[in-house]
Amino acid sequence: MAYNLIGKDFTPMDVEAKVTGRAKYAEDFRAENMVFCKTLTSSIPHARIKSIDTSEALKMQGVLGILTADDVPQFPPPALPILAKDEVFYIGDPILAVAAESEEIAANAIEAIKIDFEQLPHVVDPLESLFPGGPNARTEGNVAAGQIKLQTVKWEASDFASAGDKKMPMGRAAEEWSYGNVDAGFKNAKVTIEETFVTGTYSHNCMETRSTFAYWQGGKCFLHGSNQSHTAAIANISRYIGIEPENLVLIAEYCGGGFGSKIPGYPNMAIAALMSKKINRPVMHRITRTDEYGIGGARPGFQAYIKMGFAASGKLLAADMYLVQESGPHATAGDFRAAGNALTMMYQPEACKFRSVPVLTNTVPMGAHRGPGENQFAALVEPMFDKAAKQLNIDRMAIRRINAPDSKGTIGKDRGPLTSAFQKEALDQAAAMFKWNERKNLSGQRTGSKVIGIGIGQGYHSAGTNGFDGLLRITPDGKLHVHTGIGNLGTYSHSATARVAADMLNYDWENTIIERGDTRKALPFNSPQAGSLSASTQSRTMYVAALDMKDKLTDIAAKSLGGQPADYVLAKEKVVHKSDASKSMTYQQAAQKAVELGGKYSGKEVPEDLNPITKNSVATIAGSGLIAAAKDNLPRVGVTPGLSVSMAQIELDVETGKFEIKDMISVADCGTVLHPLGLGHQISGGNVMGIGMVMERHIYDPKLGIPASVGFHSGKLPTYLDVPVEVGWGAVDKPDPQNPIGVKGVGEPVLGSGAAAITSAIADALGGHLFNRTPVTPDMIINHLAGRPPAHKPLQVNAV
């Protein structure tokens, strides 16, 4: 199908507001009588709260109220609480909030509050917690995640002793699965790679901290928050505040970065809301960067083992992986599970075994961070394919290609189907773009102190789902209003997907208005802006809503002009009779007619299967035009994979241990390209964050549990000078057959492939040496080159 808008560049509606500073983020709002709140956070990594004395604080002039755990909704442990109840789990854990006429008074009041803590044993290293008699991060246990209920897991001393210092000890797992004959696979392998690896935790480093501003009016809570998703977050945020979803007015037109840390809202949002309710004043809760390094969370780390057996052809016959996850104190991270799936997806092993223990630690709450699990896996395991390729004497690109999934590939322990996969094509396209066959010969070439490293990396994340609602409206002035609830993370998918509807309805983009960012704008229930979902998922909802709109337009034309709906087609913003061009009506006329007709045409009646959020939204605009609302019931069988390849050339300085990325390209398999400029932006930005994974850190003092990474200076993210001037990009541009437009997402895989291309390039520059660790720091490189052991212990976490 030929498109007018899909696949073409455009200027998204919100760019001008961003470049002029007019875009308003949560903390940019004010209200009359606004007051401030601040939280008191734990200064101890693990303690029981014995008593809290707020008497002095409450006496202070200007103090308006104190909110403790007793004032807020409770969620069963180990869920992330709004405020700590009896036990604190990390330094920076919020305990209570003070509201005052000014922030200064609130800060002084916090100084006047006395808390009697009973310090408890703490742990920042998962293996230490698994050691017999080792400390637990929570009094109730040390292992939990998703379906794995809170429990205590201790391994045998012999598990540790038999592994020695350098190899991963592997005791009883909390979750395990396997398929195929793993033992036979290893037996038949020509080459076997067996490695222990460690991935670091690090902050999301969103530029906007999670400040919240809230007030109440007419029984409704008005919340200005920094959130990735919009309508997908309403149920969760309402639950934190303890209100019905229809009583939440969520205003989040812009989100200054989330990267997984602001997907369905977060407990901290409820503090301003509940404080405002308690003291009956609008409340601003500003979050400092230091606060953000605590409550903002981090990417979980792994201490891990992997064994892979390859046939002479390079085919991966069997894989066995064991991940111990540093989970933070709550069961908020499922990275380990995603990493297991990534292993099956990226390399399609004939037999696979997976074991894992998600261990609770007294570090910040860990959670989804752009490609959670898949990307740590990619960054560490991809360079091992270089090692295997070398031993098998085959090309590094070829070994990836032979194992890469095609559309017949499978995923997970159940070997479920995929909707489409064109990773071999992505590899070929990247190789052509990068001139892989020529460039690979530069490996190890040295000029002065600089050595060239050539790297290749792949990334994967599922990238599309279904079941959400589309909502479109043509107002009697003829304008198309696209109501979208997917949020605004800066991917511009809110606009790119709106163009699907405009395109299908033969609308001029100039006559399309996007309604978003505020629940009062009649937003339907839409996909979270997370999990690389929004481009693909929202394309589907736009498609079904546009079909509904098309049916209604032709219905109205037949009713008004005679004949059957099937006699009519959509032309440029009008409905025209196929064989009698004199019979036509403009969309404007159709919208006016819809208001007269009422019923399903004007939104007075809606399909039963719509989500209640959508139904409520339609009710607020019913009668105002021609309304199309439909649930995406289109079939989708299997996982929709987003895939990517990155290639990089670095120059590593053997005297300083630093490296410079001289060139980097990335190619994505993300289905039909909706918006080339926006896609290129996601691909290059994702690769830049991938570079970040190789350099960012989250250091803890293991004895005291004190975080050393509490600002950009101590948890540095890539700057202009750490990244190449340009990341070249490409897209396979083959449609996914199970998406009506062919779209798949790609926001996350590109981070993994980017990180992996750099770890691969570092190994290449060092003659194939694998650090088996992120981050890779200059001192690690210098120590290695000098033949000295690293400064950290082999399995130590949060250490470099």
Binding site: K18, A23, K24, Y215, F259, I513, D518
Partner: protein
């Protein structure tokens, strides 16, 4: 763009009660009172108010206009701009002079306003993102280039990036790419939009 901008600031035609309209105006970023915001030290705790320290009424030249404002001795320029002058385009990302989201120009030099004492810029010329546009609201060539090249992603660092780019081009109207990236390197972007921003700087440098 005028339609698009209208879109961004919300002309929806959706029925809203008078009450929501009123509230919408109230919660709109207009400075109401600034007394409440705390000036932080670099570790995020209160700088407090030195004993006996009081606000002094001073005149600041911001975006070509003289503004009279009460300023504490320890008050940062970012604080004054955002919370006293109501110019919320300037963002605070770290408050530690690390990220550059708060970048403004002081006498045309790119400056971290979060780490500049307001008293130190009296009698100097301060330009924030709101002052980058021309007198009739015409976008600066850097802003036009940022739109053309799709500079921002999430947009939170964008004000600082735009101001840094404007300041850079004032100092060096035709930078090489390497000069441009060094000139911009005090401004972080977590989305990794660096190459798009850089392209915009180079595009703008080619415009008269």
């Amino acid at each position: 763009m005028s339609d698009a901008d209208k879109n961004a600031t919300g002309s929806s035609g959706i029925r809203a009660s008078r009450r929501t309209v009123i509230k919408g105006v109230i919660a709109s970023g207009v400075a109401v009172s600034a007394a409440g915001y705390l000036v932080y030290d670099r570790y995020g705790s209160s700088l407090g108010r030195a004993k006996g320290s009081v606000e002094r009424l001073v005149t600041l030249n911001v975006n070509g206009k003289d503004r009279r404002v009460d300023v504490l001795p320890n008050e940062t320029l970012a604080h004054t701009i955002r919370y006293k002058l109501g110019l919320t385009g300037t963002k605070i990302g770290c408050d530690h002079s690390e990220c550059g989201a708060c970048t403004v120009m002081v006498d045309d030099i790119s400056t971290y306003s979060c780490s500049t004492l307001t008293h130190s810029v009296r009698s100097r010329k301060v330009t924030t993102i709101e002052g980058v546009e021309g007198p009739n609201g015409e976008l600066h060539k850097v802003q036009k280039a940022m739109i053309k090249e799709l500079g921002p992603q999430c947009g939170f660092c964008t004000s600082g990036q735009v101001v840094a780019a404007v300041a850079l081009l004032k100092q060096n109207p035709t930078p090489t790419v390497d000069e441009a990236r060094r000139g911009m390197s005090g401004n972080m972007c977590r989305c990794g939009a660096y190459d798009h921003y850089l392209k915009a700087v180079m595009t703008a440098s080619r415009e008269a």
